[in-house]
Symmetry: C2
Subunit: 355 residues, 2 copies
């Protein structure tokens, strides 16, 4: 197996896209009703961030929405537990709200002005309002889950709150990585990066899957396995993102070629490459340490060096390993076959992006 | 009764201060343990905001801490329910963490660079890190309450999440008030201001009291009454703050004389004054509408006009009315006499500040 769209059968991609659409259509009314509960001002910012409206509130025409992976995982895992997907709606809404919260606040912290080919919320509405809107989304997510009917509200909120503290911890680590050196004893080790990715990306995917299972009535062992599967998915997802950030096609990613290297982002391929001690690793470290920005030639050379040091191979291996681990988690517990098949199809689709 | 320290008997003030100290000492180890659970970076910002350390982590010498009203209310209301105050510790910690979160994020939104005679967190650490620290505090508050032992975790988190959405809604209104005109159909009416104050200040005080009652085992009717008492306290508290913001002694408030008028803040005394239609109200509106900043003479004149229009009297009346309403709520339910006495003493002390 390789992590590449070249190996993904077109019909599998169509099936995965159909799964995402089905789940998005199922969750949308509840998500829209949740956003309606917000004060109109943060409500508009939330709708803008979700790709539903322009600044001022006019509905978008053909706006770019997220894939909705988190809501889909929640729905599919409830179905995996033998329940109708509707039973996971509060969980699905909560994880999408938390995801939107984290995009809003992370974009402020990272200073990112563009997301999905449009301005980020802080860029469009101002920093203070974007802080407010993120807070509103976070509070609403907790409120919706705390009010979910049935016996699982307390356990669900417990999971969500653990996820929130994990998310924040991962974001703290990610911000601190930027200030650390490329080499020497204080350099970021690939294992630290993996732990950060699990917190920053994996906890919420794990929470989405676990909440789906929990609200669908799955036994605790299954809920734990779903959580672990989601965490592995998060690490694999981050690895693929890192590959796309260096070797991705600008026409697909919407970013310049070698984007992450030009920005000198500490990503897995670079950290894995620098963990070696050969000539190429030293040349790469010198390039990244140079005071001037990387020009085109520098970015091309750095990319070649990351590859020569095995950074690309190690990252592909990382993605494959965690995708396999996610599958192992899923296959170790009883899940309704059709849902299990859709979940696995989704995992493969998400990780078989063009790298 | 007047709302003035001149009428507060010194022994009552000493007793109230003793109550606050007793509750702070009771809660401190649990609050410190909670802050220890944070990632060290947001953890330091939280400790800085709580007045426990300087930038870099060195413990403060004689730092200025908050009064700890929210934690005290939680402890006292548990005692009012006949339980030891310790039973409310998770609630007390959660409301102090939420209070700290709201200070951190509100200071960003309001652009306030100073609080309690030192730099605010965003000023000392940067905006992005302050957003992160606020998020960390909010997540931790939910996590602590979701994990509180005994049968009340779900109800407690439900209350806290409703409080969070209320807090954010109040902050949204407060920010939007600044952009509205002083007069005409879009002017902020005193009733709107009161509703904002109840959300922004009252909900968390109400939550503190209600969580104390809930965790202390009080019946639902008592918990509701404690919540309502806290909300009234919040409105009264805001009214007194507004009086201090105009007529407070700079030596006590740490702000310039007539501070809120110089900054043209829309506070209750001004809005109540402008709700009239006489000559003085028109002159006040013209002063506040002028494009130039208010100079000393302008601030003195505006202060005199607010007073002449009855703004000060109306605000005193507002504070008294809501303090009385809080007392009525408390007296309508059975509370352990000693705790009830301490709560009432605290209320009177808080509102008998020098105005």
């Amino acid at each position: 197996m390789t992590v590449s769209a070249r190996d993904a059968r077109p019909e599998a991609a169509v099936a995965a896209a159909r799964t995402l659409t089905r789940c998005r259509d199922l969750v949308r009314p509840a998500l829209a009703a949740a956003v309606e509960r917000l004060h109109p001002w943060p409500g508009e910012m939330a709708a803008f961030s979700l790709g539903w409206c322009e600044v001022g509130g006019r509905p978008t025409e053909g706006g770019v929405e997220g894939k909705g992976v988190r809501q889909a995982l929640a729905v599919l895992c409830a179905e995996g537990a033998g329940a109708p997907g509707e039973q996971a709606l509060d969980g699905a809404v909560a994880v999408e709200l938390v995801h939107t919260f984290s995009l809003l606040h992370d974009d402020i912290m990272d200073g990112d002005g563009m997301r999905r080919q449009r301005a980020t919320v802080w860029k469009a509405y101002g920093t203070g309002p974007a802080v407010l809107a993120g807070d509103a989304l976070l509070a609403l997510a907790v409120q919706i889950l705390a009010g979910t009917p049935g016996p699982h509200a307390a356990a669900a909120v417990g999971r969500l709150s653990g996820t929130l503290t994990g998310l924040v911890r991962g974001q703290a680590e990610d911000l601190l990585f930027a200030a650390r050196p490329w080499t020497g004893p204080d350099a970021v080790r690939p294992g630290e990066y993996r732990a950060m990715a699990e917190l920053k990306t994996g906890t919420l995917l794990g929470c989405a899957a676990a909440l789906g299972g929990l609200l669908g009535g799955a036994p605790p062992r299954t809920v734990s396995a779903l959580d672990r599967a989601g965490r592995h998915l998060g690490v694999a997802f981050q690895a693929v993102d890192d590959l796309l950030g260096i070797w991705g096609d600008p026409a697909v990613t919407g970013k310049p070629v070698h984007s992450d290297l030009r920005q000198r982002k500490k990503t897995y391929p670079v950290l894995a490459a620098l963990a070696g001690s050969g000539r190429h690793a030293r040349e790469l470290a010198a390039l990244l340490d140079a005071p001037l920005p990387l020009d085109d030639a520098g970015a091309v050379r750095a990319t070649a060096l990351v590859e020569a040091c095995g950074g690309r191979t190690a990252t592909l291996e990382e993605a494959r390993h965690h995708l396999d681990a996610a599958r192992t988690c899923l296959r170790g517990v009883p899940l309704a076959p059709r849902a299990a098949c859709e979940i696995e199809g989704l995992l493969a689709f998400l990780l078989h992006r063009e790298v």
